[in-house]
Symmetry: C2
Subunit: 424 residues, 2 copies
């Protein structure tokens, strides 16, 4: 806050002359509304409490900024975008899989790693064994890394517990993270991540646990914002996924689905049939799946981090999503096995470099379309009066720079619910 303003605030003669809490002047706004980036050059933006209360060209301000807000920040001609939204992560887990990563690169086969208890089951074992404090501690580090890259809302999935206690504990860890850090967290129940080894020979028993015990509990106590399923050749099959989708929608829970990542099983069309908020991954999504998603308003969530780590060759049908008008979101997929990526900016670059998205699509993929994938576009994801005051100030010349760099963070200030957090 500038000192002159501080002095004014402490003077008693004009205590009610200001209408807003905070005002940023001298910024270029990428509102992510309308054409292209929805640019407003030489703009200003004001907040009251946790909401955006005004934005527009600065020359529309009727009075000197200091008379309009309690705090005025000179944006130095920087760009201001909506706070970034990472709409698909698995960032709560114990241990990590760096050792497996090294073993594979030293030539140890997947089969040998599986025999020694590797893969997702090693993360499940470690997560079940970890204390709640340890889960909070390690997840906080990864979450902080995302916040440093400009994120203000993060979706986190359970699914490394696969038993009642640990799944509920993961959801509680997410609540603790939200209480500790300046971020909104969307909790997704992903009990259907895989069949745990103890149910390997009676898969229906695990589905009963999900459908008869966990989903009703989650619905009743409002423990998660959505239910997700890993529908895949190596995950749950189409019939199993359908059963969970039916149970979840019967309880009026939002659904989303890992679909068509490794094989085309009809998962994206199934997700659309149940009006899923999103279908995620989609490398093998056929045109019929794209059409179904367009018809039902299901957002495509693309995850280039997993594509990169798994050295996949087939990219999602981006051209089809464009021509059918399916909104594309992008996300880190932050997880210990196939995407240990903790920067949403780097993912924006991967979306452009690996999937040929434009920088504008990449930015809407982590703002407006990511909000859509979480069902909260009415509340955030664009700069609009009345929406949540979540935004980021960037020292860049063009919005495309956010997708252009790798490992370079031009963030200057992150604002969450109207509160600014300056970069250290």
């Amino acid at each position: 806050m500038n000192q002159g303003l501080e002095d004014k605030l402490s003077s008693p003669d004009k205590p009610n002359g200001r209408i807003w809490d905070r005002l940023w002047t001298n910024v270029n706004l990428a509102t992510m509304q309308g054409q292209s980036y929805g640019e407003i050059y030489h703009g200003a933006i004001a907040t009251t409490g946790s909401r955006i209360s005004w934005l527009g060209p600065q020359d529309q301000l009727t009075d000197p900024p200091e008379q309009l807000a309690k705090t005025v920040t000179d944006g130095m001609g920087h760009w201001l975008t909506p706070g970034l939204i990472d709409c698909h992560t698995h960032l709560v887990f114990a241990s990590n899989r760096a050792k497996e990563f090294e073993q594979r690169l030293r030539g140890v086969s997947y089969a040998a790693i599986a025999r020694q208890g590797g893969g997702i089951r090693s993360t499940v074992s470690a997560t079940r064994a970890a204390s709640t404090e340890e889960l909070i501690r390690s997840a906080s580090q990864r979450l902080q890394s995302l916040l440093d890259s400009g994120v203000t809302t993060v979706e986190i999935k359970s699914g490394y517990g696969l038993d009642i206690d640990t799944e509920l504990r993961m959801l509680r860890v997410m609540t603790a993270l939200e209480n500790n850090l300046a971020v909104s967290i969307h909790k997704t129940y992903l009990g259907a991540h895989t069949i745990p080894s103890e149910y390997e020979h009676h898969r229906d028993g695990y589905l009963n646990l999900i459908c008869n015990e966990l989903l009703p509990l989650i619905g009743e106590k409002n423990l998660a914002e959505a239910v997700d399923i890993f529908c895949e050749s190596i995950g749950l099959n189409l019939a199993e996924s359908t059963r969970i989708l039916e149970a979840a929608t019967d309880l009026n829970l939002n659904v989303k689905m890992h679909a068509d990542q490794l094989t085309d099983m009809g998962a994206s069309a199934l997700a659309a049939e149940f009006r899923a908020l999103s279908a995620d991954h989609l490398e093998h999504c056929p045109e019929s799946g794209v059409r179904a998603m367009a018809d039902k308003g299901t957002t495509a969530v693309l995850l280039p981090g997993a594509f990169y780590y798994l050295k996949e060759n087939r990219i999602p049908p981006v051209e089809l999503f464009r021509s059918y008008g399916v909104p594309m979101a992008i996300a880190t997929d932050l997880n210990p096995g196939s995407s240990p990526v903790a920067s949403l900016l780097t993912i924006m670059n991967m979306a452009c470099t690996l999937f040929s998205l434009t920088p504008e699509e990449a930015l809407s993929g982590v703002t407006s379309n990511a909000a859509r994938a979480l069902g909260v576009l009415d509340d955030r994801g664009t700069l609009e009066v009345g929406k949540r005051a979540d935004f980021v100030l960037w020292d860049i010349q063009l919005p495309a720079e956010l997708s252009y760099w790798v490992g370079f963070n031009p963030g200057v200030e992150r604002v969450k619910d109207g509160d600014p957090i300056r970069k250290a």
Copy 2:
């Protein structure tokens, strides 16, 4: 510094009881010497002035740590590695090419971008036009990003001036960067980056400028540690490169070369013939080039960032480098056109994920072998008594984690010339 120790220091009764300036205890050392990572578990490391004065298992310390050093740091069981060395960058430049990046993704052709003055020539124009202060300011941001990722030594090439004044100015900017930030900078003269447009129709004229004016000046005034050449179908041809190599070696200047990136022109063998410190890129390096490099002790510098941005398909002959015993370094290649990557940690991951290096090879690629590529292995690149006290403390369980994550920085403390710089 712990308070008890501070008190001791101010007490007059035992002023000479300590033999080292600083001591880190309770660390695992990855010395990068000998087998694998050269691990010393439960270790300690001491410095005197800017040098490493002792290291080993902590139980070999003969006295309590506080009696052995003026300052003792508890390493909390973290890992400590040599400071990272980025041995190939072009990080001094004006403007950036985010606009071109966006145009290409919107479908504008390379030819159309070239017609509007794009590509390297746009960076040359902008760099010539920029003030020295502006060059220092923008380069400092990128350099700071590298330092944040654990780097203590950076090589920087000129080559965006291509005239006497601007090339010399770029070298002076590097000196200013070294004076402003806690990092060692190795300056490389890359006048032979491309033929500037004003010499397009008399290429020999530009070679005369390099060989008759700039190289002698650089040799006489010691303005750079090495001379580099972009030997490529779109750069200088083999005869032109040979002429510069001859002129540089006649002046006893170290040489290195951009070789075999896009085509096999025999560049790596030529570099070896002139006993180049390194040949860099090498995607198209043939076995004869590998053999020549092995014979002459030329280090291979692999640059996965450019491979990634340019969507190349052919990876460097890593197996051949291994079997012939050619040391492999890796680097960011930080530049505005083909590798706007400002994190050496991310490059370590790309080396593993895209080129199938092991995490151990990736770490030696940015420590011992990077030092080799700069000709300074006797001074740094491993943890050894007498070497420069450049190292990094990481909050990780295994050294492989440094290559495993993307966009997650586990750095806790960077030590440059014996001076610790804590993460903010």
